[in-house]
């Protein structure tokens, strides 16, 4: 459990209030949360830091969510990404899944559900790392 809760989460959303609230919620639960507010900063953050799970809003100014996802995944393939959107476009979701996103959910997502998804994603990441570490 302590392992799970030490996950480092990157929050990517142009809604500052959303990220700051979510960061508070996560840190209360033992996560280490960092917030960025556009695609470029997200890519930079992924380059510089080490994260386990990213929460990615698909609708952002500048480079959009899908493009951000693509770049992040290129840099850190093992980083698990949970896509969030206020828009119910299946196509974007499908595309994101293709690019290797862990899951896709619609805003406003229930906090409990989101926490579960983050936990699952982190589990998966740990599993992948284990597999890569001991082939």
């Amino acid at each position: 459990m302590s392992e799970t809760n030490s996950a480092r989460v990157l929050l990517i959303d142009d809604e500052v209030a959303f990220t700051s609230n979510l960061a508070m919620i996560l840190s209360v639960r033992g996560y280490e949360a960092t917030a960025v507010h556009d695609g470029e900063s997200a890519v930079r953050a992924v380059e510089e830091g080490d994260y386990d799970v990213a929460i990615l809003d698909l609708m952002m100014p500048g480079i959009d969510g899908i493009e951000t996802l693509r770049q992040i995944k290129r840099k850190k393939p093992l980083l698990e990404v949970i896509m969030l959107t206020g828009h119910g476009s299946v196509d974007t979701g499908v595309e994101g899944m293709h690019l290797g996103a862990f899951d896709y959910a619609m805003k406003p997502i229930d906090i409990g559900d989101l926490l579960e998804k983050i936990a699952d994603a982190y589990q998966r990441k740990l599993l992948q790392e284990q597999r890569n570490g001991n082939p």
């Binding site: 609230n21 919620i25 206020g86 299946v90 979701g93």
Partner: protein, 592 residues
């Protein structure tokens, strides 16, 4: 957003009741146009024919009249010639001695009489105008003829026979004389014979031409030499315009003087021919109207025919125009309903976009509210110093906020669902299932058309990401066409197969019918919009073209094979790209 209602309003108006268009004016214009096209040449032709025919028939009639006059003149001339020949034979064949002898004269008179009793009497008159001998019914021996016009005329003349005009003379009946002046040495005497008016009259008066036609003789002064049927009496002046009778023979139309309006005497058509001797003319006369009755009748029937043709044209152009208007109306209606559909679709699309936009804009703040709520809840939990009652109340209110956010969430999701429906939402479709549904829907129709379905589905086909409604439309189109292809042909069958092809990897759906097939020259056009083999009004010709565009949008294709008389096979090809089938797991989540 402002121009939106405008752009919707205008076509809606046009697509309203078809009466909104002025079809009756179009109808009238059609009729007018066809009538002008038909009447102008007809009238020209009619006028030309009428004009030509009128001239022609006038010439014919004139010629006929003139020849009639000339023929009658010949008869009169012949009669007179025979009589003058007799007189000159007697006059030159006998001496005064013989003729003075009453018995001898009587004998000669009898001989002449044998030819026909044309002569009333025969007399020999000396140069003082006294009868030397006379055979005849009248007592004329004492008369002095030296004062008569004919005696004076004869005395001036040469040896030829003199023929007088009609006159009354001593005997007070109309007659004319033939006489010759004879000279024997110093002796001058006259042989004179009388011909009663009746003989001459009988030659012309009995000739009847129609109801108003007549033939009569006039002398050069225009005095009747025979009794005309109308316009005068024997030996009276006729009112004919003899100053116009200048030719040897001719014709003219003449409007008699007198009367006015209704009483005006009818116009006359006259042919005349001058005799050589005496100076008479033969006249053939008829009411102009009667003479040209036949011509007029022909003209009348031509006129009737013309009017009849007009009537026929009017009817025909009316019928044709009506037919065309109906076609146009139908086309308009079809176009209207098509544009109505388009308008509806685009309207729904824009409403859908609006809804999606609103939902998205609201979803973001809702998400923030949810997180903020959670932060407060966390803070409340973590703050140990909080009053217990206050904390409970706070948590209660926080969950109320949560549930209200969920309520909003429902609304936005419904909005999004609606928005997605307006643009044919795609989802993973089990093609077998979808086909089965359509077959159930159409089976009854097929049965009533004597067509049986048979199906061979490959089980466990990968699902395809598509709009179920659109796929249904494609299937319904193909199956309906297949049923229609049998055209009531008994024992028809429609085979529907699904299969999974390997290379390239794709799903194939085959709809094969045993119908009439498609001709080779038409097979290339079956997917063209508005191409249809169905009777006018039965098919829009859009079914297959819509199916085609739906399949193309899916990245698929639609193919057709056909043999006339054996049937057609339509094949739908669904490509199996990873997009379509791999990630079935997302389908549930996005709809929430």
């Amino acid at each position: 957003m402002e121009p939106q209602p405008e752009s919707i309003e205008r076509p809606a108006e046009a697509s309203g009741p078809a009466g909104g268009r002025n079809y009756s004016r179009l109808y009238l214009r059609f009729i007018l146009l066809t009538l002008i096209c038909a009447i102008v040449p007809l009238s020209l032709l009619g006028w030309a024919a009428f004009d030509h025919y009128s001239d022609f028939s006038y010439d014919q009639m004139a010629d006929y009249f003139q020849r009639r006059a000339e023929a009658n003149r010949r008869i009169v001339e012949l009669f007179l010639k025979e009589r003058t020949a007799e007189i000159s034979l007697v006059g030159y064949g006998h001496s005064l001695e013989d003729l003075k002898n009453r018995d001898k004269l009587e004998y000669i008179f009898r001989l002449m009489d044998q030819e026909g009793s044309y002569f009333t009497d025969l007399g020999v008159i000396d140069d003082r105008g006294k009868h030397m001998a006379y055979i005849g019914p009248y007592d004329l021996m004492a008369n002095d003829y030296s004062v008569t016009f004919w005696f004076k005329e004869l005395m001036k003349r040469g040896p030829e026979v003199y023929v007088s005009d009609m006159f009354m003379g001593y005997r007070k009946t109309p007659h004319f004389i033939m006489a010759i002046l004879r000279r024997e040495g110093d002796l001058k005497w006259i042989l004179r014979a009388t011909i009663q008016n009746e003989f001459l009259s009988s030659l012309v008066e009995n000739i009847k031409i129609g109801d108003t036609g007549e033939v009569f003789l006039l002398n050069y002064l225009g005095v009747f030499q025979t009794n005309p049927r109308t316009g005068g009496k024997l030996m009276t002046n006729s009112d004919l315009p003899i100053e116009r009778f200048t030719e040897e023979s001719g014709i003219l139309a003449w409007q008699p003087e007198g009367g006015g309006g209704q009483d005006r005497p009818p116009k006359q058509f006259i042919a005349y021919a001058w005799l050589k001797e005496p100076h008479w003319m033969l006249v053939v006369k008829q009411d102009y109207a009667e003479a040209f009755m036949e011509v007029n009748k022909a003209n009348q029937s031509a006129f009737l025919l013309f009017n009849l043709s007009l009537l026929v044209m009017l009817t025909v152009s009316g019928v044709i125009a009506g037919y065309m208007i109906r076609i146009i109306q139908k086309r308009d209606k079809e176009a209207d309903s098509l544009s109505e559909q388009l308008i509806h679709t685009s309207k729904m699309a824009s409403v859908g976009e609006l809804a999606a936009g609103v939902a998205h804009e609201i979803n973001n703040p809702l998400a923030i509210i949810l997180t903020a709520n959670q932060v407060i809840r966390d803070l409340a939990q973590l703050t140990a110093t909080l009053d217990q009652v206050f904390k409970e109340r706070l948590l209660q209110l926080l969950s109320q906020i949560d549930s209200m956010v969920q309520r909003c969430n429902h609304i936005t999701h419904n909005l999004l669902r609606f928005a997605r429906r307006t643009k044919a939402p795609t989802q993973l479709v089990d093609l077998n299932e979808s086909l089965k549904e359509v077959m159930d829907l159409t089976e009854k129709r097929a049965k009533t058309n004597g067509v049986e379905f048979s199906a061979a589905f490959r089980p466990d086909l990968p699902k395809v990401l598509a709009s179920p409604a659109e796929l249904q439309q494609v299937f319904v189109n193909l199956i309906n066409n297949a049923i229609a292809a049998h055209g009531g042909k008994a024992n028809g069958s429609i085979r529907i197969n699904t299969r999974l092809a390997e290379k390239p990897e794709r799903i194939e759906i085959e709809v094969a019918d045993s119908g009439v097939g498609i001709a080779a020259d038409q097979i290339g056009r079956v997917f063209d919009p508005f191409f249809t083999t169905k009777p006018v009004g039965k098919g829009t010709g859009l079914g297959l073209s819509i199916s085609y565009s739906i399949m193309k949008q899916l990245g698929g294709d639609i193919k057709v094979q056909s043999e006339v008389g054996k049937g057609s096979t339509f094949t739908l090809l669904f490509p199996l790209t990873s997009t379509n089938h791999e990630k079935n797991n997302i389908s549930g989540r996005d709809d929430v």
